[in-house]
């Protein structure tokens, strides 16, 4: 009975294991794409018509042999940087990337100065 149960579980897991790679890739990409209809949600989380079409298109592009970055480039060309949750560093986004580092350095400098002043 026990062997039968284990065999059944293994059999049920086989399709999941086979398709895991495709789904993993698709989920990873759609989690980094922003839904334009329900803004604030990723394409992965959203069930809007637009998000569902995006999911189909990501599957199609993966089947055509597009890499993750090529898919991001494709959507960026259509909708702009905003479509990505994790935008690249370029002339439009450098403030976004550098501001936290600048604030961190400024805060550090203030703390060091205060500590030196105390000593």
């Amino acid at each position: 009975m026990r062997i039968l149960k284990i065999t059944l579980i293994i059999l049920l897991l086989i399709p999941n294991l086979l398709f895991a790679d495709d789904k993993f890739e698709r989920n990873k990409i759609t989690k980094n794409l922003r839904c334009l209809i329900c803004q604030g949600q990723s394409v992965y989380d959203s069930d809007s018509d637009f998000a569902n079409s995006m999911k189909i298109l990501v599957d199609k592009k993966l089947a055509e042999g597009f890499s993750e970055n090529e898919i991001y480039e494709f959507f960026k060309e259509k909708y702009g940087d905003w479509i990505l949750y994790d935008p690249d560093l370029n002339k439009n986004t450098y403030i976004l990337w550098l501001l936290p580092i600048l604030i961190f350095l400024l805060g550090g400098a203030i703390i060091i100065k205060k500590l030196k002043f105390k000593n």
């Binding site: 334009l36 018509d49 569902n52 079409s53 298109l57």
Partner: protein, 172 residues
């Protein structure tokens, strides 16, 4: 001097934060993709609405005249509003209207055209919505004016008198 410095910094910070938030209130937080023009049209293939024949984009946009690609659906209320303008545009020799029927029921779409008229020379099917994404659209209706295989202008939402006049001024 030092006694005054800290309160002034706090007041200035509050005023700055207030101004940023106040400006933020006036600006919409809904992102609309920029209507980037002079972009090449996407290469795609689709199925014709009535004959169900396969057709590629190069067969449709094959001359140097103006084309107007309109994404529509029978369930879309704003599409009904703009339909009269499309009918008017279809009378012009300067432009060829192409319809992209978005995620629609065939019978409903046919009834829609029977009732309101068919302004399109060719209608293509976009059953899963992926062709619209190839065009960079994200809803219905959306309209693209095309010339020499490039997108000349893009209109998000229903067309109106003002936009129709703009289209006429471009195509004349």
């Amino acid at each position: 001097m030092k006694d005054k410095l800290i309160p002034s910094i706090i007041i200035i910070s509050f005023i700055t934060i207030f101004l940023i938030f106040y400006k933020g209130l006036q600006e919409t937080s809904i992102y609309t993709p920029k209507s980037e023009i002079k972009k090449d049209i996407p290469i795609f293939s689709s199925v014709k609405f009535d004959s169900k024949e396969n057709i590629s984009s190069s067969e449709i946009f094959n001359s140097n005249k103006f084309y107007l690609l309109n994404i529509w659906a029978s369930w879309c209320v704003p599409c009904r509003q703009e339909h009269a303008y499309l009918m008017r545009l279809s009378e012009s020799d300067q432009v060829t209207l192409i319809g992209l029927n978005y995620k629609d029921n065939f019978n409903n779409a046919q009834n829609f055209l029977k009732k309101l008229g068919n302004p399109y020379e060719t209608i293509l099917l976009d059953e899963d919505g992926t062709i619209s994404i190839e065009w960079g659209a994200y809803g219905v209706p959306e309209t693209f004016l095309i010339h020499k295989n490039k997108i000349v202008s893009k209109y998000i939402g229903p067309l109106n008198e003002e936009l129709i006049n703009e289209i006429y001024s471009i195509i004349k």
